[in-house]
Symmetry: C2
Subunit: 352 residues, 2 copies
């Protein structure tokens, strides 16, 4: 076990990294990934997460070898919700259903240790432990830089490795409050928002617009103590959802109540996800949506890149900051600040 842990730990010492790199050729890594060998999967992901130059070379070689040899039928499930909504236990319960259905699953979790320990604490010890041990399941923490739900290069690389491993599903867990939540949404085939019963207050922590992104709103803790509250919350959200503009023309957001402890509602949730994804694979809509989302991500990343080049220019920075200060100190109107800024920027670009 200690050896496996060292493979999963992203903070490998330089020596350990070097050794791994020497002993695993790109071919061996690729073969290991394709056979869902969890140690090699972990090692491959550690490689792509590394900023060490040698690791980057090995990572790039692996990614080139993987190429576009992806599994187009790997369903991408994004699960979001505030801390405390019970994402970890839901992922365990849902993962269990996925395994029972004979499917394989990669979980990119914000905190996989809590996913396992909470499962144990909450009483369904054997089953939860099974999730972590099952050969069909691979659990991986997303790098801490991604904790707030954004997608980084390494998230994309990790997903590509998991798709090369031909997992049937990837679950990407995010916390629903970050600036880049919309990017996680664009990486998903299905987007699930998990809420506590009585979530009218709790939703304050959720990013604006997330309700309209949700394909499924899942009310958790439909257990003995909060059963009635969960029922009332479900009703409220069912009514509210009707008045919001849905993201998909062919889908009306489902509101489902579940208990990750008693498993009530979990089979129905799994069925809903499975049908959503498989019908979209069959109709071609899933692929169509991925292409549209990828184009949108590419465009956004290109624009961010280009913008960062300009914003690194001190003269440009100074112009913007000066006009921001005029507005902040109420020294001019928005219009005059804009006109002044444009005219100063024009001069910089004329000189070029």
């Amino acid at each position: 076990m200690s050896k496996r842990k060292s493979h999963i730990n992203p903070n490998l010492s330089k020596n350990v990294r070097k050794r791994l790199q020497d002993t695993h050729s790109t071919d061996a890594l690729l073969e290991g990934v394709r056979s869902k060998n969890r140690q090699i999967l972990a090692q491959a992901i550690t490689l792509v997460e590394s900023t060490h130059a040698d690791d980057r070379l090995a990572a790039d070689a692996l990614l080139t070898a993987i190429g576009s040899n992806k599994n187009p039928h790997c369903g991408r499930i994004v699960i979001t919700g505030s801390p405390g909504a019970g994402k970890s236990t839901l992922i365990n319960a849902l993962g269990n259903e996925i395994v029972k259905a004979g499917k394989s699953l990669a979980i990119l979790a914000t905190d996989p240790s809590s996913a396992i320990s909470q499962g144990s604490i909450l009483g369904d010890k054997t089953r939860m432990a099974d999730i972590g041990k099952s050969e069909a399941v691979f659990i991986r923490p997303t790098p801490s830089g991604n904790y707030l739900g954004g997608i980084s290069k390494s998230t994309l690389e990790t997903m590509q490795i998991c798709e090369a491993a031909h997992f049937d599903f990837i679950i990407l867990e995010t916390v629903g409050v970050g600036q880049s939540e919309y990017e996680s949404y664009k990486l998903s085939d299905i987007f699930l928002l998990l809420l506590n019963p009585g979530a009218g207050d709790e939703i304050q922590g959720i990013k604006r617009g997330i309700m309209e992104m949700a394909d499924i709103v899942c009310i958790n803790k439909y257990d003995t103590q909060t059963k009635e509250l969960a029922e009332a919350t479900e009703k409220k959200y069912k009514n509210a959802i009707k008045l919001l503009q849905n993201n998909r023309e062919d889908w009306e957001t489902k509101v489902l109540k579940v208990s990750s402890i008693t498993q009530v509602g979990i089979p129905a949730l799994w069925k809903c996800i499975d049908q959503f994804i498989s019908s979209r694979i069959a109709s071609g809509l899933l692929e169509q949506q991925r292409v549209a989302n990828n184009l949108s991500i590419l465009q956004e990343k290109a624009e961010n890149y280009l913008l960062s080049k300009h914003l690194a220019n001190t003269s440009i920075q100074t112009i913007i900051e000066r006009n921001r200060a005029y507005i902040a100190n109420n020294e001019t109107t928005l219009l005059n600040a804009l006109l002044g800024m444009y005219s100063e920027l024009d001069k910089i670009f004329e000189d070029k």
Copy 2:
């Protein structure tokens, strides 16, 4: 009347423009604006909307003279809603209340002719006609380029002219479907979403996220025929609003039902708007929010400007388009397209 029409018409012939320009000095224009002379107001706005070089000179001279001599207490009301929601008739009815309260009002309407004719058609002829004729009210079409709700330079300039004229309120009408609806929101002190009764279906035409921007959701047509439907719709929205994240910490979105024909609910709507704005002027929150919104608009405009400079570069365009095509034709993964794009862009910026 024909002379007045020619002043309002933004498509003045060059000769007419020349004549107006010659006969009105900046001082005369400024004085006319400050005294709310509607002909001169119309002429000033026509000047700032013009792209003619001489007009621009005259417009800039006027705007410089206006300077930051704005009226900080001019409440900015943005009213949005799909075509057919009854924005024009609501604006007429609300404008009537504002005038009755002894306040002056500038209406920047998407289609002011319909505002007047619909009023006549709907039976309250005298009153509606009064709105257009009252010295306290100035109606101006927003340029057609702004039809979809965006703010252009000329919208800002027009608002600045109206503020220099010391109108107590400006109503900016938008249609709630445009890409830049968020910009109109940022120009507003209060944002009102107008809906038809039974708007569950109709809201499909409304831009996503607009519900969370609304300070007031107004259910229109609370008349004999659709009275019960309006009541049911009001109830639905009141429940739904509770589950959405509100934009303002100190305000819970109000849902009000009104009839622009029978005037039922219009005094209450006016009271709500008036109290919202005057309490925020008193607390300083209105000014604070304007500064924050202006900073956000400035930043966004700066970024758009900078981006447009890069995107005008053919080599950069080609790189982005090539990688878009790879994705669209499924020739590569998102990751590889991104890596390829970054590496090509890096080369361009290294060469610089």
